[in-house]
């Protein structure tokens, strides 16, 4: 996913002279081809994230579209005030390409695990937050970033994630994709939780439970209409996220449902990481499994929640 997103920056740069790549201190050879073809627009600015965000704001004020790239935690925690003030307050078209969203850097420990990035980025006015599920979807997303108004936070996965997105679904920032029709339950996913949801849906189907999947690649702005459509007639809404429980996809979905439905809310299950830093290493998969976010664990949690939830569908309606 990361290589695809990087290559897309090069491709966009070839198409549009406003495009800049700005890295802090990325891996050796990052976008080497672009650095040769467009040396003036391939900028490596050092481990100085606060400065880089401000500098990108200045470049965007002059009509450039900077794609800023480093590890997700450094792109969010270190320079949060610059993101808030320089980018969001000025509503500038800077793209933050965050390597290693979620638990990708599991072996490197909690300093490198972006577990609250969606929450803090989503909290900022004017910010758009997108979490593609695989390399193909990352490519489709990048195509749309050139002319999107305002800043975008792009949470990338590990790379090598199974390709599950489909070209026929298209891609539009802010428009959720219904991957499986709603049934007894609808799972709402973002990022690489989609792959787990698809596998969990198969496991549930084997138990006679019909599970829908709404892929909410854009967490902000949230596609509330698609959400309301997808939950109609279901007994349970389950949100799946590689993120702490506060402020992420589960929160966004709950807020939207409360705002739109008020009373008559559906039963809801929020599956997420716990509200604590990870002190285990291993791999992204092993940490997800440890915290109940493997396909098996998701299916089990949903089946259990369905038993506890009312058998009749809640009276869902859109307002």
């Amino acid at each position: 996913m990361r290589n695809t997103a990087m290559n897309m920056v090069h491709k966009l740069a070839a198409r549009d002279e406003r495009v800049l790549y700005i890295g802090s201190d990325p891996g050796a050879g990052t976008l080497r081809a672009m650095s040769k073809e467009f040396p003036k627009r391939h900028l490596i600015e050092g481990i100085s994230e606060a400065h880089i965000i401000g500098m990108s704001a200045g470049l965007a004020m002059e009509g450039f579209v900077p794609y800023v790239n480093t590890i997700a935690t450094f792109l969010t925690r270190r320079c949060y005030e610059q993101v808030a003030v320089d980018l969001c307050l000025h509503n500038l078209p800077v793209r933050l390409i965050a390597n290693g969203g979620g638990l990708v850097y599991a072996p490197l420990g909690p300093t490198h695990q972006a577990i609250e990035d969606i929450a803090i980025m989503r909290a900022l006015p004017n910010m758009t937050v997108v979490c593609p599920c695989d390399a193909d979807e990352a490519a489709r997303l990048m195509e749309q970033t050139l002319d999107w108004t305002g800043p975008i936070y792009i949470r990338l996965g590990k790379g090598g994630d199974a390709i599950v997105s489909r070209a026929e679904h298209g891609f539009e920032i802010g428009k959720a994709i219904l991957m499986r029709p709603p049934g007894d339950v609808v799972m709402v996913t973002t990022g690489i939780m989609l792959q787990r949801a698809l596998a969990a849906a198969d496991l549930l189907a084997a138990q006679g439970i019909r599970a829908g999947i709404l892929h909410m690649h854009t967490v902000k702005p949230l596609d509330t209409e698609a959400l309301l459509q997808a939950i109609r007639g279901t007994r349970l809404v389950a949100t799946l996220e590689e993120h702490v429980p506060s402020g992420g996809l589960g929160s966004a979905v709950a807020e939207a449902l409360i705002d739109k439905l008020g009373s008559g809310l559906p039963a809801m299950l929020r599956l997420s990481l716990p509200d604590r830093f990870m002190h285990n290493y291993g791999s992204q998969d092993s940490l997800l499994k440890k915290h109940g976010l493997s396909a098996d664990a998701i299916a089990t949690s949903i089946a259990r929640a369905l038993i506890a939830s009312p058998t009749s569908s809640p009276q869902l309606h859109s307002t």
Partner: protein, 282 residues
């Protein structure tokens, strides 16, 4: 003990001409109307802003977004009263706006906002942001082969922020000789003396070692400011830092070098009388 710069001594003793007094009357009128404002940080800054807007910047108040204009960012956004006075006097917006400072429907807040105030290039107030934005503006000029220059006004307390020194390294890396950092070195931040809060000396050597061409002067000396600011870049291929030795609260004896006047709420009748004596009726 740090040796006192002759420029700092000159800043303490130099007199102000009528235009400088007039601009102070505008600033203090805003404070009187609003019942609040950062007085000391604005009064130390006035001559720096005055010379920029009167003599140096290539700007057109009737076309504040002219692509060819020079860019100026007040990174120490809390000094905005000085900038508002200049912008109003130069016709970016009506002088009457100054009376609405911090009011519910005013365009003029306690820190300047891009998009609200004609002539403001960037919203500032959180410190340590302006120089990085300035690096971006200056680099954009380089990439686009444009001739505008970028001036960034920084406070001395502000440069406690590490991001300023990240930006300084970036400016030097790119050899941005179209970028000028002006440091309002009044030696007094909110709590007290910069030497106490976080010593900055040797300040000129710091900027020099970060790759800047450095000039030092009395920041209330209009002539010296004109001479230096009209000769940028000081050294081709290098960004310029102009260390302006100033006096916080300059022009008001009660406020000079007095941290209590960093931010001032309602002015008392006796304070207003003292102001009239110092800068004239307003």
């Amino acid at each position: 003990m740090t040796q006192i710069s002759p420029h700092a001594e000159a800043a303490l003793t130099c007199t102000l001409d009528e235009r400088s007094l007039y601009l102070r009357r505008l600033v203090l009128g805003s404070v009187r109307s609003a019942g609040r404002g950062h007085v000391g940080p604005a009064l130390s800054l006035i001559e720096m802003v005055r010379v920029l807007y009167d003599d140096v910047l290539r700007i057109d108040p009737s076309n504040p977004r002219d692509p060819a204009r020079d860019r100026a960012i007040l990174s120490k956004g809390h000094g905005c009263l000085a900038l508002y006075a200049l912008l109003a006097d130069r016709g970016f917006f009506p002088l009457s706006e100054l009376d609405g400072f911090c009011g519910p429907d005013s365009i003029l807040g306690g820190h300047p906002e891009y998009g609200m105030v004609p002539g403001i290039e960037a919203s500032t107030g959180a410190l340590g942001h302006g120089l990085s934005i300035g690096v971006g503006l200056a680099l954009a000029a380089r990439l686009r082969e444009r001739t505008y220059r970028t001036f960034v006004l920084l406070g001395d307390g502000e440069i406690n922020e590490g991001s300023v020194w990240e930006a300084a390294m970036g400016a030097a890396k790119h050899g941005l000789d179209n970028l000028v950092a002006l440091i309002d070195y009044n030696k007094l931040q909110s709590y007290g003396p910069t030497d106490y809060v976080l010593p900055l000396e040797p300040l000129a050597d710091k900027w020099r070692s970060f790759g800047f061409a450095v000039q030092e002067l009395n920041g209330h000396d209009v002539g010296a400011l004109r001479t230096v600011l009209k000769q940028v870049p000081a050294v081709p291929g290098k960004p310029t830092a102009v260390i302006c030795h100033t006096v916080k609260g300059k022009g008001l004896p009660a406020a000079e070098s007095n941290a209590d006047w960093h931010h001032k709420n309602k002015l008392t009748d006796s304070e207003l009388d003292a102001i009239r004596v110092a800068v004239g009726d307003f």
